[in-house]
């Protein structure tokens, strides 16, 4: 690319990817899942742990909500006996991909050559048989719960979590632009179709439109099948200095551009426009750092923690115009594996499991390397767009093959 050869991300490539066993409730040690993914990524790159000189993870140590963090940066560094020149973790970053983009900054700045990045979750096991509902903050002493910080503005009104917060955006967007429930259903249906071809997906049995509408309403307009499925599993990638990538085991995936911007209040209810995801700022930044355009994207892996986030991201990323996501996904053909813009080719978090952002990045690399098996997009994609996060934290990356 002519533009931006001095950008940090242009000095980077993803040289290895790895993923642990993934399951609804594995009941395994989260650190073991983490290490399985990390060692797999290092092996995949053809590196040894002693070659890894950086580590980055999202979100780092977090006791609550249970299962949200499978290992801290230092826990992985110690368990792998890594000697690092740079390391980092944190939840206040540009979504889950923020950790990978920070790794690019570290490599681009010359602080490290090979940064291992991971995201590890065990929410399936943590939530147990009660499912996500068991996360409710109920049952404080004396039949009351004291809400402080940002929760004081939502929890006393029964606005108890992300499904409600996202539903408020969804309802505003549907009202303004006339998106129909049938159009929204395409995100879940598309994910399930693709998951059927992904051996590691959580839910692989077919889903019909009737099945979708039969799933219970959580909070209008979001049904159960609009909410991703908590799971256990870890995903890792190695971000390497680009000059070192060609000597490694796998064809490198090049980082073309990234976006971290947030030009709005980081607030669920005080943001400027309820019908626009903050990822629009990150996406605008991304497109400003490359000569490529949305028309060049061959495959898109776009966050679907809730289906409506995908709709908002499609608009934010410029894959369709503002308010056009309903028409864009209508009927599902455009976003299908065989369509002009294959979307969430592994099944997304709705069907493949809530690996929380990194699942999309992993899948983008799989597709660019042509290793998708039954779900491989053909002809082999050259450009993949990855977006993750929602609400107050969003980030996106544009990846290309080295061919």
């Amino acid at each position: 690319m002519a533009a931006g050869d001095n950008l940090a991300e242009r000095r980077c490539a993803i040289t290895g990817i790895g993923q642990s066993e993934v399951g609804r409730r594995l009941g395994r040690d989260p650190l073991e899942l983490t290490l399985d993914a990390c060692y797999a990524a290092v092996d995949d790159a053809g590196l040894r742990p002693s070659d890894i000189d950086g580590l980055s993870t999202y979100p780092g140590p977090m006791a609550q909500p249970r299962g949200f963090s499978g290992a801290s940066a230092t826990a992985a560094i110690d368990a792998m006996r890594l000697d690092v020149n740079w390391y980092d973790s944190g939840v206040e970053t540009a979504g889950q991909l923020g950790s990978v983009m920070k790794a690019c900054l570290a490599v681009g700045a010359g602080l490290a050559d090979h940064v291992l990045c991971f995201r590890s979750v065990w929410e399936g096991s943590a939530q147990g048989a009660g499912g996500r509902a068991s996360l409710g903050p109920g049952g404080g002493g004396g039949g009351r719960l004291y809400a402080s910080d940002f929760q004081q503005w939502t929890l006393p009104f029964g606005s108890a979590g992300a499904p409600i917060w996202i539903a408020l955006y969804a309802q505003a967007h549907m009202h303004r632009y006339g998106v129909t429930p049938e159009q929204l259903a395409q995100i879940a249906l598309n994910g399930r179709r693709n998951a059927a071809r992904n051996p590691k997906a959580i839910y692989r049995q077919p889903m019909t439109l009737d099945d979708y509408f039969a799933s219970r309403m959580i909070t209008t307009p979001l049904r159960l099948f609009d909410c991703d499925v908590p799971c256990d599993g870890a995903t890792a990638v190695v971000v390497s200095r680009r000059e070192l990538a060609s000597d490694l085991a796998r064809p490198p995936v090049l980082v073309e551009a990234m976006g971290t911007a947030m030009h709005d209040r980081p607030s669920w209810d005080q943001c400027k426009d309820l019908t626009r995801i903050m990822g629009a700022d990150a996406a605008a930044q991304l497109w400003g750092r490359t000569d490529l355009t949305p028309a060049d994207v061959d495959v898109a892996e776009v966050y679907d923690g809730f289906s409506y986030l995908t709709m908002l991201w499609l608009e934010a990323l410029g894959l369709c115009g503002p308010g056009e996501s309903g028409a864009y996904v209508d009927g599902g053909a455009r976003i299908a594996l065989e369509g002009p813009l294959p979307l969430n080719t592994h099944g997304g978090q709705l069907s493949a499991g809530r690996l929380h952002g990194y699942g999309f990045l992993h899948e983008a690399c799989v597709q660019l390397r042509g290793e998708g098996g039954e779900r491989q997009v053909t002809p082999a994609p050259q450009v993949a767009l990855v977006a993750a996060g929602g609400g107050t934290t969003c980030g996106c990356m544009l990846l290309t093959t080295s061919r």
Binding site: A147, F157, G158, L168
Partner: protein
């Protein structure tokens, strides 16, 4: 195990937010306002982001606004919150984008719509640490521009 019906979520009152949670005692919705430029600060912060003034004081607003968005929640997230109930974002009349997360009450969920004009009503929660008043909203006349 306590009785679910008696379960409540109580905002933790501090010197920073007391005006908001106790304003309902006088039937007033009170927000922090900049005494120099007139900007309402919500949630409250110690310096006005518009003019950096620290001349800030709680001030009652009209209690009127419009439904900017809403959702009819059907899931039992919390004991004592029996579905269905309406969670809404109400944009207050005083300032564009000045919104409260709240509930729409005194009307069936299907009667709620975006654009609907609403007015504050207060729900008192008794607490050993001091009672608080939650600002909820009810339709003024049921008119709205039609939710799809």
């Amino acid at each position: 195990m306590s009785d679910p019906a008696s379960f409540v979520v109580v905002p933790e009152v501090t010197d920073t937010n007391r005006h908001f949670w106790e304003g309902g005692r006088e039937g007033r919705l009170v927000l922090l306002r900049c005494g120099d430029c007139g900007y309402y600060l919500h949630p409250p912060v110690p310096v006005c982001p518009i003019d950096r003034s620290k001349n800030l004081a709680p001030e009652a607003v009209s209690g009127r606004g419009r439904v900017a968005s809403y959702t009819v929640n059907h899931h039992p997230w919390l004991p004592g919150f029996d579905p269905p109930y309406v969670v809404a974002l109400v944009e207050l009349a005083e300032q564009p984008g000045l919104r409260l997360t709240t509930n729409i009450v005194h009307c069936p969920p299907e009667a709620v719509g975006i654009g609907q004009e609403v007015e504050v009503v207060f729900r008192r929660i008794e607490d050993p640490g001091g009672d608080v008043w939650l600002p909820l909203f009810e339709p003024i006349d049921g008119a709205h521009d039609g939710g799809r």
